[in-house]
């Protein structure tokens, strides 16, 4: 990598950029936060006195129509979230190399995937609500909405953060020496992705 592509930062005791160390420390604290939510979901899993339960089948006129959890839809959202992680590193590569087209194109694709994922969750939550599963219906609904809702909130925050970086890139205010601004946002985005990598099998696939 060329020296111009390396983001400059003030002298620090560790020799590392403090902003990058700060985001890693924040990500570490977030790991413990999500662990408590995942742990809570797991300890209450299958302990509901009343349904609906995650792998129950909805009945329409006495006929099984579909599983409560929308596996095909959520799998699509999961795939797009994984691809968004790829797209954001390609955008970062473009930013570090000064390739503006690559930066804007891949960052735009990342935002599209993120927005789709948030939309998928809004659809899923609304669908559950119309099927009679609100936040206080049972233990499953409370732990499910809390866990996936907090994750969705993090994704939304990531979309907003990346949008601000996208606007900077569009205005030509993200030269290679300022690529760390995108790298830090991308680290947060990847964290949101790895949390979903854990949530997806735990909540949707394991029964």
């Amino acid at each position: 990598m060329s020296h111009a592509a390396v983001a400059a930062h003030p002298e620090t005791a560790t020799g590392l950029d403090s902003r990058k160390l700060a985001i890693w420390t924040f990500i570490g604290s977030e790991c413990m936060f999500f662990a408590s939510l995942i742990g809570t979901y797991l300890v209450y899993k299958g302990k509901d006195v009343a349904g609906p339960r995650p792998h129950d089948v909805w009945l329409l006129n006495g006929k099984e129509v579909e599983q409560m959890l929308e596996i095909p839809l959520v799998t699509t959202g999961t795939a797009l979230l994984l691809f968004s992680s790829l797209f954001v590193v390609l955008a970062l590569y473009g930013a570090q190399k000064g390739k503006r087209g690559m930066l804007i194109g891949w960052l735009g694709a990342t935002l599209f995937c993120g927005i789709f994922f948030v939309g998928m969750q809004v659809f899923e939550f609304t669908h559950f609500y119309h099927r009679g599963m609100g936040f206080t219906t049972n233990l499953f609904s409370q732990t499910f909405f809390t866990l996936t809702g907090f994750h969705g909130g993090h994704v939304s925050l990531g979309v907003l953060w990346l949008s601000t970086v996208f606007v900077l890139a569009l205005r030509g205010k993200l030269p290679p020496e300022k690529s760390l601004n995108l790298e830090i946002a991308a680290l947060y985005w990847h964290f949101v992705d790895v949390v979903w990598i854990v949530i997806f099998p735990v909540v949707y696939l394991i029964h």
Partner: protein, 117 residues
């Protein structure tokens, strides 16, 4: 910052590596869903019978592998300073301990006070 540390911190992978990792992640996710569908439908029966006893372990293993790929390559922990790895891995160990502790404590609690059916 010394030059060696600087170079070490920033020698990130190439786009070709990123794309290969992306494809691997996609394939692993497809495998997770395929395992789920085989278990749910019970088809093909022989495969479903073989998968069922180790279904949870397989999914957790695949999930851990995907997690590691993203952390190492996309989050650049493989190339960046070890200090970043430390501030991520140490809380990750605590996070795993939190989940294990909650499962053990509540498992013990439910054995003492079973929930009404």
């Amino acid at each position: 910052m010394d030059a060696a540390a600087h170079t070490h911190e920033h020698s990130h992978p190439t786009p070709a590596v990123y794309v290969r990792i992306g494809i691997t992640l996609f394939v692993l996710t497809a495998l997770e869903v395929a395992l789920y569908e085989i278990g749910r439908r019970g088809q093909p029966p022989a495969l479903a019978l073989a998968i069922t006893p180790v279904f949870v372990e397989l999914l957790l293993l695949l999930s851990a592998f995907k997690f590691a790929l993203v952390a190492m390559f996309y989050m650049h922990l493989k190339q960046d300073s070890r200090l970043f790895s430390s501030v991520f891995v140490f809380p990750l160990i605590i996070a795993a301990a939190i989940i294990m502790a909650l499962l053990l404590l509540f498992g013990y609690l439910y054995s003492l006070h079973p929930l009404p059916k």
